[in-house]
Symmetry: C2
């Protein structure tokens, strides 16, 4: 495994692989990697000849009052995890954006609700960085976690619309044994905050259980979930169509329940599939 | 030469070329091809193994009151010209955009003045279609005419910002013997309109001549040019830095003079290099 820190070095490596006809897999990350990221690499590894993991804390996807400056970093730890997952290249660029960058890639519709409503401009930052990452890495396959469920839908839409020959694979959300969805931001949580953070997955499970028991009314399902929440502020708690992300009034198809809320100064998200039985 | 009319057919052809390691050149057009387009193909031909010309009248780059519905078309004539220039594939898609397209690619800054000010949304349409064309065609080289000087600068910016491995080549503007810049829209002009349309290139030449004679004041240079114009409405007549497209106050570097104006119902553009001696 090698770590490349410039766009030019990565391009050179990718060009050589292309000449050999090798299939390139790609897992984009913001670093501070955990087992959730590892599971995405494990999904990609058998489906490609060369595996690239990018580590880049993208300023474009942070709002002015968000946690860009304190976002956790640990390149040495990240390299160990990547090596253990059989990654070929860690791409940790120090010169990612061109100096006079002026291009934005934006997806309408899917980005309007949920995290898009709570974090204005966030998804424009995501699609802009991923479009450039795809341009530089030229992968045939890219894996994104279902933890960021809306992001995955937005990236699929962008990839289709830009005609990119990249297969997008979604990787299942990974939880700690106590049920907390793995996130680099969990490192912000105090012990007390962490115990309240468990209420996110508990609330989602309450919805899944009620749906499994036959409840079809979405207001009733949401109320069952929200009763379990112990957040300081709720951004959203929604039950949506998993393709369009449009809120449902009645559970008349397989759906997704998604939550975003604040525990102290930490914003956490989580989601689960809601069965339609 | 073959004509492919679906995205899937084009992708299949491109994939086969990639497997053979062939270099793909690309000239995107809106059809109704003339010798100006032919010159772009002639520029591309010796620099690639396979040459694709797209013919697609992109609705996204037309404003609501512009000439989308009457834009001239002649696929049979276009195919003859392409065949004569040694084109391998004419890509004339009938299914270009996905049904639920929601992605826009936008370049800030460079798109704000000149045609961007006169045609709101135009360049978003251009960058969105070209990004998708590049995604589908996967060229190593693409040629755009300097006739659309601002467009060429915008496409270069987008290609750099998205990290695309596409070499962008600008092709010189081609004129009829009387000096009129070649354009598919010239077909709209009556005989009287055409003679007044010659005032565009005459005005640009007046600027070039005054600059060559030593004039450095941009207001004076512009006045010399505008005196020659016989347009019904002027969108702009500007002398700008050829890289940033920012208007100059003094001719203190090699520059570009650009004009856009209306002759009857027809909007025409033209531009020339202004020497700095």
């Amino acid at each position: 495994m090698e770590t490349l820190t410039t766009v030019a070095a990565l391009r050179e490596r990718v060009r050589a692989w292309q000449t050999e006809g090798l299939r390139v897999g790609f897992v984009p990350t913001m670093g501070f990697l955990h087992a959730g990221h590892g599971s995405l690499m494990a999904l990609a590894r058998p489906r490609c000849d060369r595996l690239v993991v990018s580590i880049f804390v993208n300023p474009l996807q942070f709002g002015p009052n968000e946690d860009l400056s304190r976002y956790p970093r640990d390149l040495a730890g990240d390299e160990r995890l990547c090596a253990a997952e059989g990654v070929d290249v860690v791409f940790a660029p120090t010169d990612f954006y061109p100096p006079d960058r002026a291009t934005t890639v934006a997806v309408a519709g899917l980005t309007e609700g949920l995290c898009g409503a709570a974090r204005p401009g966030h998804f424009d930052g995501v699609t802009t960085v991923v479009a450039r990452l795809f341009g530089v890495v030229q992968p045939q396959l890219a894996v994104f976690g279902e933890k960021d469920f809306q992001q995955l839908a937005v990236i699929r839409r962008m990839t289709t619309d830009l005609g990119l020959p990249v297969e997008i694979v979604g990787g299942p959300l990974i939880r700690d044994p106590d049920g907390l969805a793995m996130s680099s931001r969990n490192t912000y949580l105090s012990a007390d905050e962490r115990s309240r953070a468990l209420s996110l997955s508990a609330a989602l499970r309450a919805v899944v259980n009620a749906a499994t028991a036959g409840e079809r009314d979405v207001d009733t399902l949401r109320a069952a979930g929200r009763a379990a929440l112990q957040v300081d502020r709720l951004d959203y708690f929604e039950i949506v169509d998993p393709g369009t992300l449009a809120p449902l009034a009645t559970l008349d198809r397989p759906a997704r329940v998604l939550v975003a809320g604040w525990i102290g100064r930490t914003r956490l998200i989580d989601n689960m599939a809601v069965p339609w039985i």
